[in-house]
């Protein structure tokens, strides 16, 4: 298992591959479905036996699907802390699943396009992640995955309320649709709060990079539906899809404004960020995210020309604590990690002539 996870560590996340003409702003599209088995209590009231029973029933159902023969099964309950954190950083499992107790696991599609979490807040959490703005195809995919499982399991389904979930905030479709955006110019122009208030008014939620309760690290934000009941899946997808072009436009306007009104300041900011990343001797993951965000915008605006965006995207993930430790081959204390991170950044950013053209 560790071997398979190490293979994942060496490459970029599927959802971080730049795709489409809005890839300067839209990172990924994700849909998750919450499902429960009718003949087991919800997780909160599960005995150890119940949890094992849920896991077994789900495993059996998954194993019956011919085209899923190559899924990677990971028993999260026996997994090392570092490996759990690694899966969280890649968004293959939730923080909740990583930190829970008792029997729990995940089945991961080898290209990381979907993962099936067992014994999270609900018995099953299915999720599909795709690069770029791709909600429609993500829905088709997850609907198909859901059908495969529905034909083999007894889902808890209520005639009037739809799919039943442990928390009433997810009842109905059990669906959360989210799009991850990179919005550095809206943060810089301090218009981000205003944008988010507008989104909340129309029933959309805004979260940070790693979902509920997480800080908006590196100016990454996830926009998702708040309600799950009383609207069809297609409607909920449309609600999120319709607002994304407006946010993209808003971010583009903010970028254009910065370039027009304060090009020198912006160029200076971006170049300094690049300079620090190329030369620092010790650096935290927060500072790295913050600076990479500036550099990413700089590359997208043509202010930095000797870097390509995919290299930057990879650095966002590979400099996260668990990734860095896996790449460097073992557990490291925070201080050592910060030194290793600086070495990693220098070796991946500094090329002959790179520092001159960054000026």
């Amino acid at each position: 298992m560790t071997l398979k996870l190490d293979e994942l560590a060496a490459r970029a996340c599927g959802w971080l591959r730049e795709s489409g003409e809005v890839s300067d702003i839209v990172i990924s599209s994700r849909i998750r479905l919450a499902r429960n088995l009718a003949d087991f209590p919800f997780i909160r009231r599960c005995t150890d036996q119940d949890r094992a029973g849920v896991e077994k029933a789900c495993h059996q159902a998954i194993a019956q699907v011919e085209k899923w023969r190559d899924l990677i099964y990971v028993d999260v309950s026996t997994l090392a802390v570092l490996d759990r954190q690694f899966l969280v950083e890649r968004q293959l499992i939730s923080r909740e699943l990583a930190e829970a107790n008792g029997a729990r696991s995940v089945a991961i599609e080898p290209h990381e396009t979907f993962s099936l979490m067992m014994n999270e807040e609900d018995h099953l959490r299915l999720q599909v992640i795709q690069a770029g703005l791709n909600l429609q195809s993500a829905w088709e995919r997850i609907n198909e995955i859901d059908n495969e499982l529905d034909s083999r399991l007894n889902y808890a389904f209520h005639e009037r309320l739809g799919f039943l979930t442990a928390c009433p905030t997810n009842v109905g479709t059990g669906m959360r649709v989210s799009v991850m955006l990179h919005l550095p110019a809206l943060v810089l122009t301090q218009e981000i709060e205003k944008a988010f208030r507008s989104l909340q008014k129309i029933g959309l939620a805004v979260r940070g990079l790693y979902g509920e309760g997480s800080q908006a690290m590196g100016d990454f934000y996830q926009i998702s539906n708040q309600i799950t009941l009383g609207r069809s899946e297609e409607d909920l997808i449309k609600q999120v899809s319709d607002v994304i072009p407006r946010i993209i436009e808003y971010e583009r306007q903010a970028r254009a404004f910065l370039v027009k009104e304060s090009r020198k300041d912006l160029h200076d900011r971006v170049s300094r960020a690049y300079g620090i990343l190329c030369t620092a001797q010790t650096i935290s993951s927060e500072e790295t995210l913050h600076l990479l965000s500036s550099v990413r915008m700089g590359v997208n605006l043509g202010l930095i020309q000797d870097l390509d965006i995919s290299a930057i995207n990879r650095l966002f993930i590979h400099t996260q604590p668990a990734h860095l430790q896996k790449i460097r081959g073992g557990q490291l204390e925070t201080a050592d990690r910060n030194v290793e991170r600086a070495i990693y950044l220098r070796s991946h950013l500094r090329r002959p002539g790179a520092t001159e053209s960054a000026n």
Partner: protein, 180 residues
């Protein structure tokens, strides 16, 4: 650029996205603050589960009534309404039926609707009560074991097995893979 409301330079550029089409405002810091505050008060933040729960409880439920309600426990999973209220998570699918009267206003508050209109499960015609029976039986079996009433526990185990056999979804056995 000058502020649209006074003579100071506009440093805040706000695009209002909530209407039919985006509206732009160019304001100085002071006017922008006023504008944002005004817009804020008219739009309460989206309801959270704990907020809705707290609100629901303030709505004239007398203390005794609440205490009585809190004592009610689901016959299938045993969760009390008090436990749900404090932890925010339900205990089993049957809770949606058993606590229906309490949950419906809450669900209405969260979603603004009480009827699912999306995708349906394959076996949605099967009664949910029949399926949640197994949860109750398993709990009773554990209780019987706890009292060292092994005869009763064995009886319940056989009942559970019968129900599970009957309910087996029409899926293929693991050793006979389905057609692609």
């Amino acid at each position: 650029m000058k502020c649209q409301q006074c003579e100071k330079p506009a440093t805040f550029h706000i695009t209002e996205l909530t209407g039919e089409s985006p509206v732009e405002h160019h304001l100085c810091e002071t006017c922008a603050k006023t504008y944002l505050q005004e817009n804020d008060s008219s739009s309460p933040p989206a309801p959270t589960l704990s907020g809705v729960l707290a609100k629901q409880l303030k709505l004239g439920q007398a203390a005794e009534e609440l205490a009585r309600l809190d004592q009610r426990a689901c016959p299938v999973c045993g969760i009390s309404f008090h436990e749900f209220r404090t932890k925010g998570r339900l205990g089993c699918p049957h809770d949606y039926t058993f606590f229906e009267r309490e949950l419906m206003p809450l669900i209405m508050n969260i979603h603004g609707e009480t009827k699912h209109v999306g995708k349906r499960a394959r076996h949605s015609e099967v009664s949910l009560d029949e399926e949640t029976d197994v949860i109750r039986l398993r709990r009773e079996m554990d209780e019987a074991k706890g009292k060292e009433d092994y005869e009763r526990a064995a009886e319940i185990r056989d009942t559970i097995r019968k129900i599970e056999q009957k309910k087996k979804p029409p899926a293929q056995a693991p050793d006979s893979p389905d057609k692609p």
